[in-house]
Symmetry: C2
């Protein structure tokens, strides 16, 4: 069965997109098939994979509006075994447009069900199947993020080792609990991922210690260290494994893939 993981945190710039791309690539390099889905109107993940959002005639936006299927918009990436459902800037209007749609939180879930049905029908024309679906969320707790949480089983929360990061966690967990209660029983946090950790600074170490105290076993053993190769890779439309395979960034995301596999699909 395909494991479905949402990468969410309403705080901006904490590494959701960077994690989605590079964890996906690390899993694909182990021979797993990975589908990335960009749910952010800012389309950073799409751009990170060297796809120009304004060159697309259809994107995840058209799927949410019911005008296309996910199978229509899936495309390969430069990493073997890793595909992407791209976003486009049109998605910015989606939350407002869909606010009064019936079953507005389930639209993505239903689209994914059709995608899985098509790929397992196995006539060879539909894309997939995949071992992992990784969903990149925007920095908000609005309708797009709620669609992601309703459609997946597991959540990874990248958390920057900074003060404001801890501030948002209570609300983040409330929203997960709400979706789990009303829309998606069984939804659970797979792990909290310390991200952009600058081990030289005292603040970083203090906040990291606090994160581990507060969240205990939920925190991944792997912390992603701050590494300029990770942001350079994005500027070249490459994963860190293509751009700087010997870097700390590559090592950290390979280690995270290991840990995600060990934690296994949630019971």
């Amino acid at each position: 069965a395909m494991r479905r993981i949402a990468f969410m945190n309403q705080k901006g710039g904490v590494g959701k997109t960077t994690t989605c791309v590079n964890l996906g690539a690390a899993l694909a390099r182990r021979g797993l098939r990975v589908l990335l889905l960009d749910l952010d109107p800012q389309a950073n993940l799409t751009v990170h994979l060297d796809v120009r959002p304004d060159s697309l005639d259809r994107s995840v936006y058209d799927v949410l509006c019911g005008r296309a299927s996910l199978a229509d918009v899936v495309r390969p990436t430069s990493t073997l075994g890793m595909d992407v459902v791209p976003s486009s800037l049109d998605l910015a209007g989606a939350e407002m447009e869909l606010v009064s749609a019936v079953g507005r939180e389930q639209i993505l879930k239903d689209a994914l069900a059709r995608l899985e049905a098509a790929s397992s029908a196995g006539d060879g024309t539909a894309p997939g199947p995949w071992d992992f679906l990784l969903l990149d969320c925007p920095p908000s707790l609005g309708l797009l993020t709620v669609n992601a949480l309703t459609a997946v089983r597991e959540v990874i929360v990248p958390l920057q080792a900074e003060f404001f990061a801890l501030q948002g966690m209570a609300r983040l967990r409330d929203v997960i609990a709400l979706v789990e209660g009303r829309l998606n029983p069984g939804l659970a946090i797979l792990g909290i991922l310390p991200s952009m950790v600058d081990s030289r600074t005292t603040l970083s170490r203090e906040v990291l210690a606090e994160i581990r105290t507060y969240f205990g076993a939920a925190v991944f053993g792997t912390a992603i260290r701050r590494n300029v190769k990770l942001s350079e890779a994005s500027s070249h439309g490459r994963t860190v494994f293509e751009y700087a395979p010997g870097s700390n960034g590559a090592a950290d995301y390979a280690a995270l893939a290991e840990e995600v596999l060990r934690r296994g699909a949630l019971a």
Copy 2:
């Protein structure tokens, strides 16, 4: 006349809140009266100023819903001459709740007009007046940000010296142009602020050079360097001038205040 500046960038984690707080403090230290307004449901600015959002019985949310006036919710901060209109987590629902309100983009502008009228009526009971109003926006181009853009005259765009930062600029400028055309003639970008600049990295220098090439004179001469004192200060609910007055962070924001004053109110 009070200068009104919005700090906006739909990209997350680029330094909007940090700039709002510390530029405000730098101006207040020069004897100017400053009002900060937190328009982000995540309430980082509110927390940065040592106010607990969940302890408030009223916030900017109640003002947008028409249940309170700005004068009711203004409060002082630990910096003399600097006041704040706090946010609370209730604001998260505001965009959805107000989506069908008549004149939904003007709600903040009207509330500010009433505040200015009350303080210039000069009976001494109303707070203010102020020389500067600084509006902190959430990482999105939704209704809250549009309210900010409709209510101000000037915009400062903190821009991280990172690849994705440049990606969002075209759309950011489109939205400013749209608001300027339909809702707020005279709205203009006061300046682009290079933020979190890590001068040691090649990427940072390259992106900074690209920002200056692309935006020319719009870019502030002052760049805010990455400085751990700025994030440490936020974790103590202090401005950098209270926490680490000798730091690079303090020096950079003092220099920015100088430059903002020199550029003067836009003609």
